[in-house]
């Protein structure tokens, strides 16, 4: 299967097509919108389901197999800002705080992109380590912390706006990073799954596994409208960020696949680690950055991660990582 075939197969999956439908709905200014509680319900379902599945997989595989690649994944996430920040700062001539913010987003990960990738692997019949959800769980926060520190260092030397009302100490950021909704659901479900094991899966599988792909397709319809509404901001962010949003996943994806290979993951697992590295956070990172680096411009980081990198990965980035892994493991 060539890269082109892989992309094409991906483009005709229900998940991607519903995403495209959502983008279309936003472009024709349809009044289609998922109400907030429905959105919240779907994300809770997706995070708990993927976490639980990962936990059961850990129970089956044993922690001994998981800890090394998990640690490597964490390190990769934490290190990505160290190359993206200088690029954004100097090649992109962005303000220090904006460069730090964007770097944090690309070091962190997108759960939906990861889930779409597992979906895709299933569709093309490529087995993967189910415990890869653990990598998703540990990669969300480190880069955000690094990005915030980078941004703080830069602004403490710089001007700085008004006195900070929240006195957002790093402690608050750490609390958010560990106890925020998405990390808590993901890590919590992972632990629950690891404790229950396959016996627990028998009971809740018909809810958390069987209808999972359909729920994801429906959710991507909504994500399409969200991304589509941001497309108008593309003009505001400039050509540099457009290129950055497309090239960074290609580079980080390759790094992730390589790292997966080195740490002993199989072909599927390496692909998923690649996708995680390639993906950019658009929920957890914006929330943390908004509070702890309020001077960073949200239009820049949100448009880059949500309107450029997310659709790019969904359509091209995922098959690209698989093709790369196939070539590497061949």
């Amino acid at each position: 299967m060539t890269l082109l075939d892989a992309v094409q197969a991906n483009l005709l999956s229900p998940a991607v097509l519903f995403f495209v439908l959502g983008v279309f709905a936003a472009l024709v200014r349809s009044d289609l919108k998922f109400p907030e509680p429905l959105y919240a319900g779907l994300t809770i379902y997706l995070l708990v389901a993927i976490g639980f599945k990962g936990g059961v997989a850990i129970a089956e595989a044993g922690l001994a197999q998981v800890w090394l690649p998990a640690l490597a994944a964490m390190a990769l996430g934490a290190l990505i800002p160290f190359w993206t920040y200088p690029v954004l700062r100097h090649a992109g001539r962005l303000a220090a705080v904006d460069a730090a913010a964007i770097a944090a987003h690309y070091g962190s990960v997108s759960a939906v992109t990861f889930i779409a990738a597992t979906n895709y692997l299933q569709a093309v019949g490529q087995p993967y380590e189910n415990y890869a959800s653990a990598f998703l769980a540990v990669m969300e926060s480190p880069a955000i912390l690094v990005g915030v520190v980078l941004g703080r260092l830069a602004t403490s030397r710089g001007s700085g706006t008004a006195p900070d009302p929240a006195r957002t100490s790093l402690r608050a950021v750490v609390h958010e990073a560990l106890c925020g909704r998405s990390v808590l659901l993901l890590v919590g479900a992972l632990v629950v799954g690891a404790l229950c094991g396959p016996k627990g899966m028998e009971k809740v599988g018909p809810f958390f596994v069987t209808p999972f792909q359909g729920v994801l397709a429906l959710f991507l319809l909504e994500m399409g409208t969200v991304a589509g509404r941001r497309l108008g901001d593309l003009r505001k962010v400039g050509v540099f960020l457009l290129l950055f949003g497309v090239l960074t996943p290609l580079i980080n994806g390759a790094l992730g696949v390589l790292l997966g290979h080195w740490t002993g993951l199989g072909l599927g697992g390496a692909t998923l680690l690649g996708v995680l590295a390639a993906s950019a956070s658009y929920i957890a990172a914006p929330a943390a950055i908004r509070v702890s680096l309020p001077d960073a411009n949200p239009t820049l980081y949100l448009t880059a991660s949500l309107a450029i990198t997310f659709p790019f990965n969904l359509t091209v980035g995922i098959p690209y990582c698989l093709a790369l892994a196939r070539w590497l493991y061949a």
């Binding site: 907030e36 009302p165 929240a166 509404r229 929330a287």
Partner: protein, 100 residues
Amino acid sequence: MQTHPMKLLTVVCEAHARTPVLDMLRATGAHGWTLFPVEGEGAGGCRTADIPEFTNLQIQVVVRLEVAEMLLKRLEREFFPRYTMIAFAADVQVLRQGKF
């Protein structure tokens, strides 16, 4: 019917400002608050209420006049430069003076 003059302060802000605003209200002497998610449009663009993290919140607080004054000062100094938000004050009458 004996009523007492108070100020109703209304804040419409992005969801990320929730904790800092509420903390500031408590610290400045408000005895309670009321809050709900809203859609809205303003200088910061349109905020459709679909993603909890990106929604708008309307926060209402009834306070004594001098507390309102202090709240407005802190909002202007610490919050307006930082968050997408508006705030406005109005005169209201309440029955139980001690409660606010």
